[in-house]
Symmetry: C2
Subunit: 530 residues, 2 copies
């Protein structure tokens, strides 16, 4: 295809929505001219599935749950008045709480205004807030956010060191939909210990976001925390950015949450339309299907050319992979579906792996994200009549072209600027594209059955640790190999895990375990010698 | 295979090197028992290739260059005395410079000690320093680093806002091996303008790291910058962490660069051995080959269970993908090789995509990175005799097990702790594994021919912009569509790029371009109206 034909194809498929400032270009995807006709029955089914979901059907059949993230920005669409009211009330309480904090009506235990947030959460409880916070932060934000997003002790120490004396003015938000996420529990306990070691009352600095009457909710209630906000079983963690999970930290940081909600709501309106060629979420889902053969054959590389969007690929990695990476389809057939997602930002990533994308294994398609507005104010001219942002844009266009020359496909999404509204648009766009893709492939995008296995296996490791340490403590001073310990506790078959546990325990001071090294290493002995 | 057999296999293949605190476990890779015998002739060839490279052969034939990153930590191995001397002298000057800065003998233009670094660099010039800096930062560091790693104007503004008044005490390090990286040039000009707008003399705050007599080197020499440090054509960007590129910012931050070098040197010694089963870099390369069929059939997912290593997957993404993602092999055959790399950190990523890894498309293998030491000091008990770090380790072991139950392969690399030495080990380990893998697949891992195409295409975009803007300026006040402008400048076939350029220009104030929107969007008109 010559460049003129390419321009005709560009014009033919260009999808532009001025009301949400969104443009989607699929002209560099090599689908055939009859592709849309062929797929129309299937995408119409996806629209019907989505209508049913939005009307309150049990769209997550495994967990017997409704899927309601679209109601969060249009509460009157919720399937019953109680849900509408819950959403409105929670939004209202989020905004009131943030206002009272900003006005100094809710203050830290030392009477000073809160100036920092420590958000403790995992997965959807952290990634959305991290993405939005990073994308919209300014030097004038009333509160600066920090995150515990792991159970790494040293990582927590690093964050606490960074907060430093600011801890006295730090509000800790604990977020866990289920109210029993173990990493979040650990972070909460570590944070509490630090507050108390400095003489601050943790509960006067602590806010909980969780499902009503969950384990965490009861803790927060009993301890009389500063505030509690609700999420509901019909909100999934990875689609919770427009619930209190995302809105509360955003509002506290000074982000215009109404803009975020409006962007999402307007994008939802656009992507509810049944005319496929002008439905940007349907276009994305169909392009993913085209690129991956509906079977995850290609990776999705996300390249926003904007530093503020650097966490968007990671956010999408969670949204797409956890939603679409499934063993079975809705009919119970084993399908091992999914699309791998990676990427950071352009043009930086060009220096990391465009070499492979252009020349190497063709196992991916790129989604470029273009932001038209370069910066606040006027730019320096780095060459006559050329600004740094012109180069940024030039690298995007140039890379798209260089990839296409080699038969590498790409989608380009264009937004006008980065603000709360455009982030709401992007979030809603991908939420719906994932839903459509689930219908195209007959998956349940709203469950995550595979996550449990790792958690259970981890619980087994902790249990083994308890048994191994308890044995060594009883035999205080005597030394044993991992094989001997595993036998002694009656779990010979778990010797490898016991060995790993002891290696870890001996490297730390906490359990009083000392190691007598041997060669080979697995002949080393361990003893309790506090 | 039952767990007992698995333990026997674990013991059989466990590779442990106490002298570098490194353990590599390949027991969860499903290679056959005869795999090592089958591959032995090929890996022996890889050792010979590596010996030749280390002796100064032209190991990068396209660019007719030696490949010398191993000499950087063992200068006496360099193929001639001049290179040895260059390495030693540069290391000496890096350390002396950092010492003089820390002692206040080299100070900012206002006479104060330098307290911040602004490192301007792309790709290898930024990722290594970012990784090492993030992994080793402490609250007592004498200098705090910031980075320009893109040509995003708003991104630069954000960094400068963060530095704020600290700019008066900020040393800017400009790093570009070639001395003509355009993004770096733009960052340098933007930084210079800010220094000057605040009344500081840029050259008194500026340090250059580049090849001798490059374009940038001549600028720094002419403007009499604070200091200049050399890199050489035999150091690749993605393997430059143990050159001045990595060592200077590390030394200034207060990192023990001798430890970094020693770790790398000792790891090089270990990975030079020809006994495959005890050569950890050979084990990695062979496992990659096993997993990907030597053809990039699977993605490499890197999961360090340690917040400080969060940037290591990104660092490896560059090292592996840019080195191995190649169109042609050394025989000139088209092979479209490469291995896609992604990952962030565990257990955080478990909440993002372990769902897909366990249940979804089996197109990956995981490398877990385990760090035995949890934190400085004693841990809180979050459960009786259980610390947060026990859970972190438990999640690693549990996830490895849950994946293996489903036939998903993994490698586990264990290091004792995070320090300069262990980072040196990890960097050297992967540098050599990439080199070995290149030999196994008959690739040149040291060139990047595909990168040029994107740069050239970007230069064309900038040239088109200049022509389009120049036309509109001549026709001041008159309005034209993109098609009209492309025709008028005699580049009808470039209309799509012209359209994209104008959309971008009209969204910014810099070029005086106004847009008259139309439907469809590509019928919009643009005019020069400053």
């Amino acid at each position: 295809m010559n460049q003129q034909d390419q321009w005709e194809r560009y014009k033919k498929y260009l999808d532009f929505h001025p009301e949400i400032g969104l443009m989607v270009d699929i002209s560099r995807m090599a689908f055939s001219d009859d592709y849309f006709d062929l797929m129309e029955p299937r995408i119409q089914k996806a629209y019907r599935d989505m209508d049913a979901l939005e009307s309150g059907a049990i769209a997550n059949p495994d967990e017997k749950r409704m899927v309601g993230h679209y109601w969060l920005r249009a509460p009157d669409l919720a399937p019953n008045p109680q849900i509408s009211l819950d959403i409105k009330n929670t939004l209202c309480s989020v905004k009131n709480f943030a206002r009272d904090v900003h006005r100094g009506e809710i203050v830290a235990s030392n009477g000073k205004p809160f100036s920092c947030i420590l958000l403790i959460g995992m997965g959807g409880s952290a990634l959305g807030p991290q993405f939005v916070s990073g994308a919209l932060r300014t030097s004038k934000d009333p509160m600066v956010p920090y995150f515990f997003d792991n159970t790494d002790p040293d990582g927590m120490d690093q964050v606490l060191t960074e907060i430093g004396d600011g801890l006295s003015e730090t509000m800790t938000i604990v977020t866990s939909k289920s109210g029993n996420t173990i990493e979040t529990r650990n972070g909460m306990l570590e944070a509490k210990a630090i507050y108390e070691s400095k003489g601050f009352s943790f509960e006067k600095h602590a806010v909980m976001i969780t499902e009503s009457d969950s384990h965490f909710d009861r803790i927060a209630e009993k301890e009389n925390w500063l505030a509690r906000f609700a999420v509901w079983d019909w909100v999934g963690g990875r689609t919770s950015e427009t619930s209190a999970v995302g809105l509360l930290p955003a509002a506290l940081q000074g982000i215009e949450v109404d803009g975020l909600l409006e962007g999402a709501r307007l994008c939802d309106q656009v992507t509810r339309r049944k005319e496929t060629r002008t439905n940007p979420a349907a276009l994305l889902a169909l392009m993913w299907y085209h690129a991956t053969g509906g079977r995850g054959k290609k990776d999705m590389v996300i390249l926003p050319y904007k530093d503020r969007l650097q966490l968007f690929p990671k956010y999408l990695q969670q949204l797409v992979m956890e939603s679409l990476g499934k063993e079975k389809d809705l009919a119970g057939q084993i399908v091992n579906q999914g699309i791998a997602v990676y990427g950071n930002k352009g043009s930086t990533d060009q220096h990391a792996y465009i070499q492979q994308l252009r020349d190497g294994v063709n196992n991916f398609f790129v989604t470029f994200i273009e932001v038209l507005k370069d910066r606040q104010g006027v730019s320096l001219q780095v060459d006559p009549d050329v600004a740094s942002g012109d180069y940024l844009n030039g690298f995007l266009q140039g890379t798209r072209r260089a990839l296409w020359e080699k038969g590498r496909e790409s989608i380009t999404i264009t937004i006008e600027r980065i603000d709360a509204r455009s982030l709401g648009v992007l979030i809603a766009l991908y939420e719906r594209a994932v839903g459509f893709y689930g219908s195209l492939t007959n998956l349940n995008p709203y469950n995550q059955p595979g996550v449990e296995a790792g958690k259970k296996a981890a619980a087994l490791v902790i249990q083994l640790q308890t048994e191994a340490l308890s044995f060594l403590r009883q035999e205080k001073g005597k030394s044993f190999t991992a094989e001997e310990i595993a036998s002694a506790i009656g779990l010979k078959e778990e010797v490898e895990t016991v060995f790993k546990i002891l290696e870890h325990a001996a490297a730390n001071v906490d359990h009083g375990i000392k190691k007598i090294s041997a060669t080979p290493l697995y002949h080393s002995k361990y003893r309790y010698a506090p």
